[in-house]
């Protein structure tokens, strides 16, 4: 300070207020922060490893048991055989692990209390949720597609020589393989929405398991008229449809087309995220 005012007050004054950059906190900063959070805890690694191991291992198991049986398979089953779908059977189990990660992205902030620091740094809560969604989508999509293609090629290699195999150039095959990664991603987003609504890890994971594993069991036990009407809305049938070339190979109920099924899944995820977002903005943190 070059100018000293005579009679300046003796009380302490913040001589040089800390330099404040122009602008405002932003989505870019929120994205970087969420990426740091995701990569810096072991539970992320374990969820991703569990997803990968379950998906690939079940795919290997499914194709490995089918290959030696082919000689005894009857004509009807041979005609319905879908080597693509069989190799992607592991996604049914991998979804559980990615669901846990999706839930934890939000619920872990509540269980550890870091949510208050997070909202203290970014008071615009929807911006926080959007950043979490973006980072999780990126991670889940990359992992999902890698797993999908890896499962496909591993499965075809195991089936090769014993049964007919699929190639990416055949009609519907690429769609089914890409569909595996998309299914995993959007399913994880649904779980993230659930985590935002429920806020407690255990509660949200229980809800997720109930929706994906318990409700299908209940529907299975219902009279066939109801089962046929409701079956196509169930997430596990949506997943089977999206990863199948010859529809009906892994489902025993009428289903929507693969892309309509995918649209429905997106609608589920969007609904969970929107409800979660509204609650997030309204509730006390």
């Amino acid at each position: 300070m070059s100018v000293v005012t005579a009679g300046a007050p003796q009380c302490p004054v913040h001589a040089a207020p800390p330099a404040m950059p122009a602008g405002h906190y932003s989505f870019a900063g929120a994205l970087r922060s969420e990426w740091t959070k995701l990569r810096s805890v072991r539970s992320t690694t374990w969820s991703l490893v569990a997803t990968a191991v379950l998906t690939i291992a079940i795919g290997i198991l499914a194709t490995g048991t089918e290959a030696p049986r082919w000689a005894h398979t009857d004509l009807g089953d041979r005609l319905a055989f879908d080597p693509t779908s069989l190799s992607l059977a592991g996604f049914l189990f991998g979804q559980l692990a990615i669901g846990v990660l999706g839930v934890l992205v939000v619920s872990a902030e509540y269980s550890t209390g870091t949510i208050r620091a997070t909202f203290g740094a970014i008071p615009h809560r929807i911006l926080v949720l959007a950043a979490k969604v973006a980072v999780f989508t990126g991670v889940a999509f990359v992992l999902g597609e890698i797993l999908s293609f890896a499962s496909f090629f591993t499965g075809q290699a195991i089936l090769s020589g014993s049964t007919p195999t699929a190639a990416l150039g055949q009609p519907g095959v690429l769609r089914a393989v890409v569909g595996g990664g998309l299914f995993l991603t959007v399913l994880g987003l649904f779980a993230l929405g659930l985590g935002t609504i429920v806020r407690h890890s255990a509660g949200a994971i229980t809800a997720f398991v109930a929706i994906f594993f318990v409700i299908p069991l209940i529907v299975e036990a219902l009279p066939s008229a109801i089962k046929d009407a409701a079956g196509k809305y169930l997430p596990d049938n949506i997943g089977a449809t999206m990863t199948t070339v010859k529809q009906g190979f892994r489902t025993d109920v009428p289903t929507f087309s693969p892309w309509v099924s995918f649209g429905l899944l997106c609608a589920y995820a969007a609904a969970a995220l929107i409800i979660g977002g509204v609650l997030l903005a309204r509730r006390d943190a």
Partner: protein, 324 residues
Amino acid sequence: MIEARGLTKHYGDTTAVSDLSFDVRPGLVTGFLGPNGSGKSTTMRLTMGLDRPDAGRVLLNGRVYHDLRWPLREVGALLEARAIHPGRSAFDHLLALAQTNDIPRARVSAVLDQVGLSAVAHKRAGKFSLGMGQRLGIAGALLGDPGVLLFDEPINGLDPEGIRWVRHLLRGLAAEGRTVFVSSHLMSEMALTADRLVVIGRGRLIAEMPVAEFIACHSRQFVRVRTSKTTELTRLTDALADAGATVVDDDGAMGVTGMTAADIGELAASVGVTLHELSPQTASLEDAFMELTRDSVEFHVHDDTDDDQALAPGGGDRRAPVKR
């Protein structure tokens, strides 16, 4: 500068904070004092926009928290100790915070150094002691070099060395011209650290004044008097009452207010009572604080006891909470 105006918050049927208004000025440490459950943490959360007030608002340098452009560069807060993911390192915890407000990475190392956690910066925070968790929380508050700082019970879990460190830190921050608002339920600690006090009980403002004034207003002075025999005690008590003094039981001795020690001595001699003790006393600040907030605490207990009136016939004669 923090300005709370008419702040009110209910959680269900419970009123956590009721029409609370106060100012926290820059350049001073302002102690936020109240018994446990009096609404201190609620006020802190309302200040940061984490909970939504039912009425009123808090302005930070003239703005509500939600409108701050770079919240961490304007307001730093320690709300709870150990609000850290146990699997994340102290460094990554602070880095994730820094990135939200475009705070340079070097600042993370700087604040870790400032709070003495550099050596464990890359260890998983789940292994931290409560005291280390507090230090990490303080580091988070200092991260954006903010002009306003909120600390909720910062000395909880700290050892004497740590307590002295926090005291020094808070005074230093205020000396730099920052606004420092620190909550505590320990009057004695606030007497050492704070310049001003905001005292609440049951969510209501009880007092807002400089610490020195608080001490002057609220430390009760009395004279402790001890006699040799019970009969003499009775005789002296009557004489004191006649002279207009007030006598209360003080742990087996007499606590006399309204007369100086010299006058009491003269009086005792005139009625022929031998004194074993005649000593002027000043009640501690802790006592003053307890005295001041007792009604609000008592009232709180009464509130929760539905059958209280049936048990005590005089239960209807409740004392109203202190209002100023």
